[in-house]
Symmetry: C2
Subunit: 191 residues, 2 copies
DNA sequence: TAAGTTTCTTTACATATGTAAATGAATGAC
DNA sequence: GTCATTCATTTACATATGTAAAGAAACTTA
């Protein structure tokens, strides 16, 4: 739990008393490689703190095309944030790409604590703001950079990931086909 | 100010007393067409409530390529959100595309009210969450839909905008060239 | 109204990237 | 260790989209 405390505290400091109540909500679980933390179409109820492992969030459209929106490398918060906020079925699934260890909590219980703990509400605000900043960053990258530049950024951001997961997930994260990623990789090796 | 109150209250209800303090922070200003509300490279200090008019947020990269991230059609909150949150110079400028009327407030003063008004902090959280949801929605559209589908969505989302601003802003919003937008428009007319 | 400016469309060509299929390499199961 | 499966690369071809330049249309404004 110490890891969770440190992680949270770095985002927005909370009182020890608040954290005690918070940690009561979390239970440890494990996910095997390829298992899902969030299923497409399900109503999300849980938020997770990924301690070890890699998780991807991905969107599947009607044509069966996948877009790997995001990678999470522990330590990190995970969960179908949009589904939790909107109470609509999740459109974005989350899948373990390696064996994972995490702590999970009921989001509604956590949300209730907001009423009585201003510091926790502030944490919630900071997290939402942080998520927004992350998204905006990626939006700009996608709009203004070529795939080869995005690939280099991705490698810097997730240095450990490349050797641990299949290339086609990375291609999908970059918004390109595996073929194109292969071409980019070759070009980088040549130069 | 009533419009602001209604707008805010629909996101997250706040006490009347809180709103009284809040509204003291806001002053009315006007922007002429093409004037900037936020300049690229400046430190943002103000948040604005756009009452009338259209504003675009756009990013300019080193190669001089523009990406019109977003349109705001009043009533709407505007401001260099990222710069306000990070206290870094704004990378995203905001420019009036029509004559505009707005209310502006000092963001730091508003932020201070968070400490003493839990309901305002909650509003801040809801707004951040809402921004996140919006971004995620656009991310998915950009990743999985063709430009012609995105164009149709854009027209539905901003029905009034198309006749009021140049096409090349819309092209930039869609992430395509004006040439390509023109081709898409022709194809839609033909079918 | 006329001239000048801005914007939109069109054309021709170049390029990035996609799809499908074949091959080769790596990985995992037994 | 062998076989089967999964994954990565390559090739050939198709397509979407970009760039540049020219012409047409739509607006400003004097």
């Amino acid at each position: 739990m110490l890891e969770l405390f440190n992680y949270i505290n770095a985002i927005s400091p909370i009182k020890e008393k608040t954290f005690v109540e918070l940690q009561n909500l979390f239970k440890p679980i494990k996910l095997k490689k390829n298992e899902f933390f969030v299923d497409d179409g399900s109503y999300a109820n849980e938020i997770g703190f990924l301690q070890k492992g890699i998780v991807r969030a991905f969107f599947l459209n009607e044509e069966g095309k996948e877009y790997s929106k995001q990678f999470f490398v522990g330590p990190s918060l995970i969960g179908a944030y949009t589904s939790l906020l909107t109470r609509q079925p999740a459109k974005i699934a989350q899948q373990a790409l390696t064996d994972c260890e995490l702590l999970v909590a009921d989001y509604r219980a956590l949300e209730k604590l907001y009423d009585t703990h201003h510091d926790l509400e502030r944490l919630g605000r900071k997290i939402a703001e942080y998520y927004f900043l992350e998204k905006e960053q990626k939006e700009i990258e996608m709009a203004l950079l070529d795939a080869d530049k995005r690939y280099l950024i991705m490698r810097k951001k997730f240095p450990a990931i490349e050797s641990q997961i299949p290339q086609y997930y990375i291609a999908s994260y970059l918004g390109i086909s595996p073929t194109q990623l292969s071409r980019i990789r070759r070009k980088l090796l040549e130069s």
